[in-house]
Structures are given as structure tokens and as C-alpha cells.
Amino acid sequence: MKTIRAEKIKNTVAQLCAKANFDLRKDVFAALRRVYAAEKNKKARAILAAIIKNARAAKTEKLAICQDTGLPCVFVELGQDARILGDLKAAIQNGIKEGYKKARLRDSVVQDPLKRGKSSYVPGLIHIDVVKGNKLKITLLPKGFGCENKTRLKMFKPTTSLEAVRKFIIEAIKNAGPDACPPFVVGVGIGGTADYACLLAKKALLAPLNSTTAKLSRELSKEANRLNIGPMGLGGRATVLAVNILTYPTHIAGLPVAVNISCHATRSASAVL
């Protein structure tokens, strides 16, 4: 049995807040450079150059990559042989509060979704999975809402053709259009229940880009990059950086498909304790 102190968890989460918001993920940065090199449209090239320059400036000057520092989504993989000394959830929330405040990141969370009111740093959204082993893995995904607002869910019939599912995913990308800051990272969740498909789609954003060699991912990326949406929706090839797909078993009566759009500043950072 390994013991992990809540204080250590809090400090780790605080560090992840700064890291995720200042330092663009290496795979996302590499993908941006790749699409910049391949882009022929002049306007698209200029915008991609600005996006790359922005990521560099954010890292060196410790500025948020995007002013939308997101709703902090925290994915926890808790080893069943690890013992937490103290309050895990409170440690995570306090870590977010401390991390965002210290790094001068925007407070974008309203307490009452209907009455709105003053914004604050927390609560972040915490998803906890119990896994084998004695380690604790924490991943922070600050999710911007320009793109989160474009999320789509559809409960298909089980007899639906794969073609209809593909069309739905491409339509979701089209619908995100210029507003959600293309080139996108597209997370797709297929299977489970309605809520679980949405969670899978969100989790798919965490998978290394283009790590999946699945045929469907590749084909959808290609198809999306023929839509001529491009950076800021002003045309060009660079519409998506990747389409990451996660699947899960589902019921004989259904086929849930969720699409979570993430902007070109897809940020996340992880630590293992």
C-alpha cells in the first residue's frame, strides 16, 4: 500500500494548471507545424504562423495560450493499492484554485448556471477511475467553451450504416465552422450510453494525436480537411489536426455517437504520483 498525501496532490494539480495553460502539448504543437508546412492557402498560412508564434510566446513569457483558460476538467486514475491521506477531491479543487490564481489565469466558472453571477476558479469537473496498481495519475484538461459549445450527441438506431455515422461526425465539424477555432482536435465517443459517449468523446482529446492508426480516424481527418474550412474558417486545408475515436460496448437497441470539438489550442498536462 502506497500513501499519497493530499498536500502533494494539491501542489501537483497547481503545477499542472500552469503547465497546461502555458505550454502547448507537444503533439498538438507538432501537428500545427505539420499542417503549416502542408498549407498552400496564403491567408491560412499567415494565421497558422500566428498560432505557432502565439504558442511560443505563451511558453517563454508564461502567458495563457488562450484567454479562455477553460473549465478545468480533471481525469484521475487512482490505483486501488494507493491510499490517499486527506481529502482527494478537496485537494484537486484547492490545487486548481491555487494554480490558476498564482499563474494569473482567468476565472471562468460561474456557480449558478442559470443565475450566472460572479465567476471563480472552481469547481473543476473531476472524473475518477479506479485502476490497478498503486499510482495516482492526474490529467488536467482546461476545456475552452468556444469549442465545447459545438458538442454534438446523436442516439442512432443500431441498424444505422457506418456511412450515416461518418456523415454525422463530418456535419459536427462543419457546424463548429469558424467559431470554434480550427484546426480542431476532434474527439469522438461511440457506444456506451448517452452520457458515457460524451465522456468518451472528451477523453479522446487526451489521446496522443494521430496515435491511432484506425482507418476510420484517418479517413475522417482526410474528409474534414477537404471541407475548406481552414484556420479561422477563412479557407485552407487545415481544418482538423486529428480525429481521435474511442469506442465502448453498447446496448443491442442503440448506437450513441458523441462528437467533442476542441480548438487548435487543445491543452492538457499529466502527472503520475
Binding site: N54, A64, I65, Q67, T69, R104, D179, C263
Partner: protein, 170 residues
């Protein structure tokens, strides 16, 4: 690249033009728009005169030590669409944001001879360098959604909807 300042001359700007703007812009996003539109509807005084001014759809990050402002890129403009025609009617001349606008907004931009600009979306760190001064104007209780007066120099803009109603998104 063409340089522009206030007063804006929308008739000299065409959809697709890339320009550098120097001068004053006011930040305002969702909640500030609701309040401005409410004030106009009820005939209350606005916290700043909209006449000839530019609104930047932006909720900046707090300034790190030694800096004027934190990351401050554009937010999605279409969320402001319902409020925009009333603001244009009251004299607003320019808007800066990201993404497309509704048909009603495009019609109002044409009617009131205004202009809607885009700036680099998701590039808040880079755009913070063009901001030379920042002053709180109204609604401090809204935190990042408060209205700030920003003085900018050579701020990069793309004309998206011009005063003739031509739209870069077709």
C-alpha cells in the same frame, strides 16, 4: 499593410482587407452586452458613449507581474448577435471578434455603416503585446466580463463584414 485609426471610415474598408488598428477599443462580452442592451432599452445612461467606438469581444486574463494585460484574444462573436443591432443603432461603429455573424447583424452593419473585424483567434498571448494601456470602465463585479478601455497599437484585424454588407464567410 494598411494602418487605420479612429474615427473609423467604414466606407474605405472592404471585406477581406487586412489592416492594423491603433487607438481605443472597449472590451465587452456576454453579460456586459446584456447590460448595455438593457440600459439602451430602458433609456438609462451607458457607462461609455458608443458613438463611433469599437467593441472588442474579449475577456482578458489578469496581468502578470510587470505586464499590462494577460492573454486577451477574441471570443465567439455570434453569442453577442442578439444584442448587436441595438448597439449599432446607438452609434457603435466597429466590432472585433471571431467567427460568423447572424443575418440580422450583417443587415445592421450595412444599415448603420459599421464594420465587423476578425482578429487572430486563439492567439491571446500574442495579441497581448499590442495592448499599451488598460483601464477599467464599468461592471467590475463581472470580473473577466467587465468593460475595459484598451489602447492598442498596430492591432492586426481582418475585415469580415463591411459597410456594404459583404461577408467574408459568404
Amino acid at each position: 499593410m494598411k494602418k487605420i485609426k479612429l474615427p473609423l471610415e467604414p466606407e474605405n474598408l472592404e471585406s477581406g482587407d487586412e489592416v492594423l488598428f491603433s487607438g481605443v477599443v472597449y472590451t465587452a462580452r456576454d453579460q456586459a452586452h446584456r447590460r448595455l442592451a438593457d440600459a439602451l432599452r430602458c433609456g438609462r445612461k451607458l457607462p461609455f458613449s458608443l458613438k463611433g467606438q469599437i467593441i472588442y469581444y474579449c475577456g482578458p486574463n489578469p496581468a502578470p507581474k510587470g505586464k499590462i494585460i494577460g492573454s486577451c484574444g477574441p471570443t465567439t462573436s455570434s453569442r453577442m448577435d442578439d444584442f448587436t443591432p441595438a448597439l449599432l443603432k446607438a452609434g457603435l461603429k466597429g466590432m472585433i471578434g471571431k467567427g460568423s455573424r447572424s443575418r440580422e447583424v450583417i443587415r445592421a452593419v450595412k444599415k448603420y455603416r459599421a464594420v465587423y473585424f476578425l482578429t487572430y483567434a486563439g492567439c491571446g498571448a500574442l495579441l497581448s503585446k499590442y495592448i499599451k494601456r488598460k483601464k477599467l470602465v464599468a461592471y467590475p463585479e463581472l470580473g473577466p466580463e467587465a468593460i475595459y478601455r484598451l489602447e492598442v497599437k498596430d492591432f492586426p484585424l481582418i475585415v469580415a463584414v463591411d459597410s456594404k454588407g459583404r461577408n467574408i464567410y459568404g
